[in-house]
Symmetry: C2
Subunit: 156 residues, 2 copies
């Protein structure tokens, strides 16, 4: 990360068509198993630690306790070969394309978690509530955007 | 994607610590260059096509015209070696950690775009507004979550 690369003139960061994620941190949580985790953070999930790698830590500057952030994770227990699921694993519901659901099983099991930063301890953020299990790699952190409009700008 | 793998008992989908993204589609837009693109979709960005690969297309079932979705992209022109930027490239603003900004330059240049589905044409979705440039790989699509609470559940 320290070396300065030439800006590629075309293509995928000169990485070919299958770019590699580089985890910038990890979730440390009391949730140890996928079966224990609520389906969404607001459904009774606990707070957890987000431990950021020392190499990536300068990227945290400007994040403040009390603010909301979007934690982008790699749901490492997700199955990448699944394209249809029953929402919320409910056998009564019909098979639905994974892109119309928040299932962790999907071709690229990226998780989006909107959380509040409770406190900051050097390169560790106390965040929550978050349903990600212990050991989940974190690949990005983004601020929540504010909009004067009626519509949420959170994800744009 | 068609083969059924054993569920790994630990680790990162048995892919090691640097999982590879597999693009599921691509953005086709009149925006051809990063310099032309507005910084956010709501800042005058156009509509665009999201072309989904035929292999991933079954995952679209259940997405409806008129709904809002979150398109997750790989910002292929982003620079991965950047950890601090001046927000909105404004030289008056002080250097800020990339995780406190929406800069496309960041260790894992993942883009989140909340858009409206205008129409669906087989494996192509007309979406917008979106600031992603032509050729941007798409790695995931998620529904926007609705919450009865005061707080947006969009990203959780």
């Amino acid at each position: 990360m320290a070396t300065r690369k030439k800006v590629p003139t075309r293509g995928y960061n000169a990485e070919g068509s299958r770019p590699q994620l580089r985890p910038i941190g990890v979730i440390r949580s009391d949730l140890k198993q996928r079966g224990q985790a609520p389906r969404q953070g607001r459904e009774g999930a606990p707070d957890a630690w987000l431990e950021v790698n020392s190499l990536a830590a300068p990227g945290l500057e400007g994040i403040e306790a009390g603010s909301d952030i979007i934690v982008v994770t790699w749901l490492h227990r997700g199955r990448r070969d699944v394209l249809k699921v029953r929402p919320r694993s409910d056998p009564q519901r019909r098979l639905t394309g994974v892109f119309a659901t928040r299932s962790p099983d999907r071709p690229n099991p990226i998780g989006l978690h909107r959380v509040t930063v409770r406190s900051i301890d050097r390169t560790r953020l106390r965040i929550g509530p978050i349903e990600a299990i212990d050991g989940t790699p974190v690949v990005d952190i983004k601020p929540v955007l504010r909009s004067p409009g009626l519509r949420s700008m959170d994800e744009s």
